[in-house]
Symmetry: C2
Subunit: 145 residues, 2 copies
């Protein structure tokens, strides 16, 4: 998929979800977690393990995309909180989780990787990938303005 692809890395071998925005450096995919509408991942196209393995310019560009996704999700979903994380313990290929959170979501106030706190969370609708892509473009334009 990319020049620096690594065998048996699932993010080198597949997009990792429905791509809603992409450029030469990275792609934004919808995570499609039922309880977490809007949950996106910003995935580096090339295979690198840590943010500090990237050039200063690529780090900055990637974070600009992460924050554009945060802007788009805040505008579309109006969540109570946004969670950002780059973990990669299982898949050591740089990718960012951008997760809208609500006070009544299954894990709040804990991280989504902790034990659930409740089972009666309301189901919220996910917006269409195309609309999300448009909002990311809109947020990116403000960055460049």
């Amino acid at each position: 998929m990319v020049e620096t692809a690594v065998d048996e890395c699932e993010l080198c071998e597949s997009p990792g979800g429905e791509v809603v925005w992409e450029n030469a450096l990275c792609r934004v995919v919808m995570a499609e977690e039922l309880n977490y509408p809007g949950f996106c991942r910003v995935i580096l196209n090339s295979h690198h393990r840590e943010m500090t393995d990237l050039s200063f310019s690529d780090r900055a560009q990637l974070m600009t995309v992460v924050f554009a996704v945060e802007c788009a999700l805040r505008r579309l979903y109006k969540p109570d909180k946004i969670n950002l994380a780059s973990l990669g313990n299982l898949t050591p290929h740089v990718h960012w989780h951008v997760i809208p959170r609500w006070r009544d979501d299954p894990h709040f106030p804990n991280s989504i990787w902790a034990a659930p706190q409740r089972i009666d969370s309301p189901l919220r609708r996910s917006v269409d990938g195309r609309l999300l892509g448009e909002q990311i473009i809109c947020a990116m334009r403000k960055t460049l303005a």
Copy 2:
């Protein structure tokens, strides 16, 4: 503590740990989690909820500090992985967790907020805060070079 301090915000009311580096925008503190030597937090000095509540310049500056801490921790601890996260569900005041991870640490490969995976993890020594501060300064200098 800061001009924009908010009542009952623990990160407005206290430093949040031993400060090893700071500037006008933020401070780096040692988290002092026994099982996670090197675990640091980069805490914004002013009270803001989300990264996208900050100016573009402050976002970029804050991430430069986060990545300088990542560099310093990689150099000092040589961990198997670095985890970065800005969650703030309980304390909605922007702060980043910068966490060195090892394959045999208590939660690996899960996040440190998930259920533990093992109880026989080796105890690793934490380095002195002054040494960590020096390495952060060293990493910041490379950013500015």
